[in-house]
């Protein structure tokens, strides 16, 4: 099916591009991103653990994004990003429940832009859809 094929390619490239960008911009300033992670005030994430997350998460995003872009390991990469996206959504819901007013830190850490938890959640639903299409790629394609 031609439409399936185009939809899959568009989703794969968009998802890959989003996460490659998100990872790059955070890896650029890990210290600021550690601050963004700290803003979530997750009880088990101590001062030092915030830095471990901040130093590894951007590279997971970049690697999975890159794999999607170059059309290698598409299903594992889409699965990984889907799971990550779900974790982000849980964190954002907890932000809403606790009534914290923080920037989501999704892209530019400590930047001038301010994305609320609601907006970020909505965006994450879209990203989840992209990951789902990339994961359940059309049956014509054998990977």
């Amino acid at each position: 099916m031609r439409f399936d094929r185009i939809l899959f390619q568009v989703c794969r490239l968009t998802l890959g591009g989003i996460f490659l960008y998100a990872g790059l911009i955070k890896a650029w300033d890990v210290v600021a991103f550690a601050g963004s992670v700290a803003n979530y005030q997750i009880p088990f994430l101590t001062y030092q653990l915030n830095y471990l997350v901040a130093a590894s998460l951007p590279y997971i995003e970049m690697s999975a994004g890159l794999l999607l872009l170059i059309n290698r390991q598409v299903r594992p990469a889409a699965l990984l990003l889907g799971v990550l996206d779900l974790i982000f959504m849980v964190a954002l819901v907890s932000v809403l429940i606790r009534g914290l007013d923080i920037d989501c830190g999704c892209f530019r850490p400590g930047g001038e832009g301010h994305t609320t938890a609601q907006a970020a959640l909505l965006r994450d639903v879209g990203i989840l859809a992209l990951a789902a299409v990339s994961f359940f790629q059309p049956s014509w394609k054998k990977s």
Partner: protein, 170 residues
């Protein structure tokens, strides 16, 4: 042996996803090992995008790092512990004064009576994960204190660096 193709396929999928995550994390941790070493040995780190004193007239507290805190304490800066009274009594930075964020309303008048508004203040709590220092700093700026800074590393970073911690009443 009966093989279940979808099951082995799923297993391979999950394994590959986990491998990507592990290898990518290892790469990130390795590339930032110097920074992480600093964090785990309790030395201060500063964001490359943090530029204190840009002169923009927004009442926001300035972040300070460990070395700056030590320098400022050589002058007449006053350290303020924004954590609870109990946490303060268990251990605080030497010379720090307790002003728990949750009791700011009751204690602010007494504080203002004793501390002039031009005195530099450095506020801390229990490290990056705690919001109290920032909240208290904004409050103090709002009531007229002019030089208010936040030491984000807080007590964990200070004590990890092997610096002395004071206990009990002051």
């Amino acid at each position: 042996m009966n093989r279940v193709p979808w099951k082995s396929g799923l297993w391979r999928l999950v394994r590959n996803a986990a491998l990507i995550a592990i290898l990518a994390s290892a790469l990130g941790l390795a590339l930032h090992s110097r920074l992480l070493w600093k964090v785990f040995t309790g030395r201060a780190v500063v964001s490359s995008q943090t530029s204190p004193g840009t002169g923009i007239e927004v009442a926001l507290p300035l972040p300070v790092e460990l070395e700056e805190v030590r320098e400022l304490l050589g002058g007449d800066a006053l350290l303020i512990d924004a954590r609870s009274r109990d946490a303060y009594l268990e251990g605080h930075l030497p010379g720090a004064r307790s002003l728990p964020r949750e009791h700011i309303d009751e204690q602010l008048d007494a504080f203002r009576g004793q501390v002039p508004p031009d005195r530099p203040l450095i506020i801390y709590c229990s490290g990056y994960g705690c919001p109290d220092s920032f909240v208290l700093a904004e409050h103090l700026l709002a009531v007229g204190y002019r030089d208010v800074r936040v030491y984000e590393g807080g007590l964990p970073e200070w004590s990890n660096a092997g610096l002395p911690v004071e206990r009990g009443q002051r």
